[in-house]
């Protein structure tokens, strides 16, 4: 069964004919070619496929594309503006928050949501906000440092 859905993806309106059993992740990656959204576990446990839907982070592997009909979707490709990296992207790289890069798109989008809601989160709030995004490389310390820097806070040692 197929269905026509409308999505606004990174500010662009898309009308798509999708299989009703496609996840949003499949549609973003395969139909729209937005490969920046990563499939880590395909069961909503690792957060690598996180996108913002109407501003809220959601693992796109756990959402049917038809359920995103009419919504606004922001993927990692839409975070940089006019070819210039967003401050989150810059600071992640400066602080060593990126290693293999596979969790990075999800981590950056969750950070964006966190800082959009609360420009000055403390360390505990940061840890809680990224608690659904698994990173095997960094041990999280430099990711937390990067978000602290973005929040204008010094890490309490």
């Amino acid at each position: 069964m197929k269905k026509v859905i409308k999505l606004t993806v990174n500010g662009m309106e898309k009308e798509l004919l999708v299989d009703v059993h496609s996840t949003l992740l499949d549609v973003l990656r395969e139909d729209l070619g937005l490969k920046g959204t990563k499939k880590g576990c395909n069961q909503g446990e690792c957060g690598a496929c996180t996108v913002l839907i109407d501003g809220n982070p959601v693992p796109s592997c756990s959402l049917l594309a038809v359920k995103a009909d009419g919504k606004d979707v922001l993927t990692i490709e839409g975070v940089a503006e006019a070819g210039k990296l967003h401050a989150i992207q810059e600071v992640f790289n400066e602080k060593g928050a990126i290693q293999c890069g596979f969790c990075t798109p999800g981590m950056i989008l969750v950070t964006k949501k966190l800082l959009d809601d609360n420009p000055n989160p403390d360390e505990q709030e940061i840890k809680e906000a990224i608690a659904g995004n698994i990173c095997r490389c960094t041990g999280y310390a430099q990711i937390i440092e990067a978000i602290m820097a973005l929040a204008g806070r010094k890490q309490v040692r």
Partner: protein, 330 residues
């Protein structure tokens, strides 16, 4: 780990939804879908169609009246966490919602989905390839339960966080079916069957439309305490919800306790009221009551920790929940 093909319907009215569900065979209701999609990928369920409740506006309503809160079944956990009125009137509900899964899933997951969460087991929540090694367990259509080895019933464990809290609050739920609407107590929604743990899963042909949660009387304290190995992502090994009221002499006037994670449904420990009513809350009394309550939980090896450990932990979790609600330091 791909999804099988299925049809998809998202009717705009409840009536249409109920009719569809009862006319077309082998459907599954999808709310947020975060749990259902995993089950579908693992081929634990192979429905012909999904019935989405997304487009029915009435199911997303949050209504406060003088003495109760009515939540549509499609209200998200994030909505619950963000509500200051819920924080004020029903703090244990907020606490339980906040501890479900990981932050990413709570934007999508709904209260109705959490109440209808399927039971879980180390033999059941596996891929179809994995399950082919041992053949079907009772829950997947086999002859007997892999946990006990012989019995013709399912012992999968109920692991939802919110139901014990709502049961402790005395919540009632609204169901819509071909025979019309009915309201039952949430406690009666669950049947303790691992295989089909609630009346909808057992085939009543109904849709959960709303939850009515009476505000506790003045002075009632409620607490949800969850024990899990990590502070996010994990299901509870044990969860305990307590609502209690102390009288002017600091004696227990009433107490309810409901637990999750150990049996095939929420376990309501009715004896706790008899054990503790009239007692002054002191650590020793709490530990004794918790130990007695933990005996009623009967965990089996449905997860990767031993039943013995679950029992040990249950005692601690229950004691903590009671002590916190009663303002006592253990």
């Amino acid at each position: 780990m791909r999804l099988n093909e299925f049809d998809y319907y998202d009717p705009a009215t409840l009536e249409e939804a109920v009719e569809l569900l009862n006319q077309k065979a082998n459907g599954a209701i999808i709310a947020g879908g975060s749990d259902l999609l995993v089950a579908l990928k693992q081929k634990l369920q192979t429905p012909n169609y999904l019935l989405s409740l997304d487009k029915i506006p009435s199911l997303k309503k949050v209504k406060f009246t003088e003495n109760k809160l009515t939540l549509g079944s499609m209200v998200t956990l994030d909505d619950i966490i963000k509500s200051s009125l819920i924080q004020e009137k029903l703090p244990a509900l907020k606490q339980a919602a906040w501890e479900v899964a990981s932050p990413l899933l709570r934007y999508q997951a709904t209260i109705g989905g959490n109440l209808c969460l399927n039971t879980r087991c180390r033999f059941y929540n596996q891929t179809s390839f994995w399950r082919s090694t041992r053949g079907p367990c009772f829950k997947t259509g086999g002859k007997s339960c892999h946990v006990t080895g012989t019995e013709e019933r399912c012992y999968a464990a109920f692991c939802a966080d919110i139901p014990p809290v709502l049961i402790a609050y005395g919540a009632r739920i609204n169901l819509a079916g071909m025979q019309g609407a009915r309201t039952i107590s949430l406690a009666d929604f669950y049947n303790g069957e691992g295989r089909f743990p609630n009346v909808i899963a057992a085939g009543s042909g109904e849709i959960l439309t709303g939850i009515e949660i009476p505000f506790p009387q003045t002075g009632v304290k409620s607490v949800y305490r969850k024990f899990r190995l990590r502070d996010s992502i994990d299901y509870p090994l044990v969860g305990a919800a307590v609502a209690l009221k102390l009288d002017a002499q600091n004696k227990i006037e009433m107490i309810t306790l409901s637990c999750t994670g150990t049996a095939s449904g929420p376990v309501n420990i009715k004896s706790i009221n008899e054990v503790l009513r009239g007692a002054v809350l002191k650590p020793e009394a709490i530990w004794d009551a918790a130990a007695a309550a933990a005996v009623e939980l009967h965990p089996l090896k449905t997860s990767l920790v031993s039943p013995r450990y679950k029992r040990d932990i249950s005692r601690v979790v229950i004691a903590e929940a009671i002590a916190t609600a009663g303002g006592v330091t253990l």
